[in-house]
């Protein structure tokens, strides 16, 4: 039985902008998580790139912040259907972090403080498509939104933008991450509405 609740529309706004299918516009910034917010002291924070053999690159907070960073704008599309447009960030491009790295890996698994992981093709991290972001809206990234630093990959659903990122593991074979292993789409293109596995 389908009951329509008279006069109920929820928190959505009308959009005269083009959104990916099934999305609605939000002006706030919902906090969604699968676990407790990690609190990582900056003097212990690090970001690593590793493969099956070991750590290829490692930065602590100081050496990470010494890298050239850029400001950029991004539209965010969450698989829970909210979209937030034109958000402003500052971060280090994965092109910078991966620069001159010789690898024949095809995929990457991003992993976070806590136990969250998410997988994506390595090529989706390159060519100005991905950043390790540490400032949002002109301020240091708050812990509830993934601070001190999160992965940001705006062309995919936001679950691929791992909060509290601590590194990426390069892989020769794809391996599903936290949500990809439980029904969510392995790739997650919002414009092709790839929310769930089998779509």
């Amino acid at each position: 039985m389908d009951i329509v609740s008279r006069g109920f529309s929820g928190r959505r706004s009308a959009a005269d902008v083009k959104l990916p299918p099934g999305q609605y516009l939000t002006t706030d910034f919902p906090v969604l998580s699968a676990g407790p917010t990690p609190h990582v002291p900056l003097d212990q924070w690090e970001f690593t790139i590793e493969d099956g053999t070991g750590v290829l690159r490692r930065w602590n907070w100081k050496s990470f912040r010494d890298l050239p960073a850029e400001t950029f704008r991004a539209d965010l599309h969450c698989v829970t259907r909210w979209s937030k447009l034109g958000t402003s960030w500052e971060g280090v491009s994965l092109d910078t972090l991966l620069a001159d790295l010789k690898t024949d890996a095809s995929h990457a698994l991003a992993h976070s403080y806590g136990d969250y992981t998410t997988n994506l093709p390595l090529s989706d991290l390159m060519k100005k498509q991905a950043w390790v972001a540490f400032r949002f809206d002109g301020k240091d990234l708050a812990p509830e939104h993934g601070g001190p630093a999160r992965l940001l990959v705006p062309h995919l659903y936001l679950w691929k933008s791992a909060k509290w990122v601590r590194g990426i593991t390069l892989m020769h074979q794809d391996k599903p991450g936290f949500w990809e292993s439980l029904g969510y789409h392995n790739y997650g293109d919002p414009w092709r509405e790839q929310r769930y596995s089998g779509e």
């Binding site: 039985m1 009951i3 008279r6 006069g7 529309s9 929820g10 706030d28």
Partner: protein, 243 residues
């Protein structure tokens, strides 16, 4: 799984909280402490689900009362407290819960600790006790921001007067009534010691409210000597909204 309930009574408890009475055909009955999930569906199919504790005592009339607190940024509570009209239908799932419940067969001392709208399932327990003419001794420690936020005030007054079943202590976190002996603040060890059952009486404790409130109160009950299996908790969201 989802059944329709028709709104038959609306009653404003405070400036921001409203009790909605629903008539639910084939309602199987409930036990005090259980909750229902309420689903709202917009005309375009968008839906939202929230959990609300049942406020009413178990009854055989197929009626369920929910008390909803309106949250400033809520998506559902403003609709339920301001838009919903008599005759409207809501979809319900439940009753749900077998742990955070008080059954009329229980005879041991009961300690209830409520934070804000956490009073709702505990009120169902109190109402259940009264309806069943149980002799289980009840104590309620009820924490609110300020006096105007108290739910069910008249009913609680009547039940806590001398000789009545519920020993009631109010405590306030932001603003206190005139001449109140205790400054506003969180529940602390001293208040637990003066207002709750001595732990050697082995009460069953029920703590309900926002998560931070529950963690504080449950921790204090434990420090006071109540064992973990005697402390049952139900957490609302940090803003008081469940999910």
């Amino acid at each position: 799984m989802w059944r329709p309930g028709t709104v038959v009574v609306l009653h404003d408890e405070t400036a921001t909280a409203r009790t909605i009475t629903l008539e639910v055909p084939d309602w199987p009955g409930h036990v005090a402490g259980q909750h229902v999930d309420v689903r709202l569906t917009a005309p375009d199919g968008y839906s939202a689900v929230r959990s609300y504790s049942i406020a009413s005592a178990p009854n055989t009339e197929g009626r369920v009362e929910l008390t909803v607190e309106r949250l400033a940024n809520g998506e559902v509570s403003p609709y339920l407290t301001q838009e919903v009209a008599i005759g409207d239908r809501l979809e319900l799932r439940g009753p749900i819960g077998g742990w955070f419940v008080w059954r009329t067969q229980q005879t041991e001392p009961i300690q209830l600790i409520a934070g804000g709208s956490g009073i709702v399932p505990l009120m169902a327990m109190i109402r259940s006790r009264v309806a069943a003419a149980s002799i289980a001794p009840f104590r309620l420690l009820y924490s609110v921001r300020e006096p105007g936020a108290v739910l069910y005030r008249d009913e609680l007054e009547a039940l806590s007067n001398h000789g009545q079943p519920v020993n009631l202590t109010y405590t306030y976190t932001r603003a206190v009534p005139k001449d109140w002996p205790r400054p506003p603040g969180r529940i602390d060890a001293a208040l637990i010691a003066t207002s709750t059952w001595p732990s050697n009486l082995v009460p069953t404790c029920y703590v309900c409210g926002p998560t931070a409130f529950v963690e504080n109160a449950a921790g204090l009950l434990s420090d006071y000597g109540n064992s973990a299996d005697k402390i049952r908790t139900e957490r609302f969201g940090p803003t008081g909204d469940r999910k």
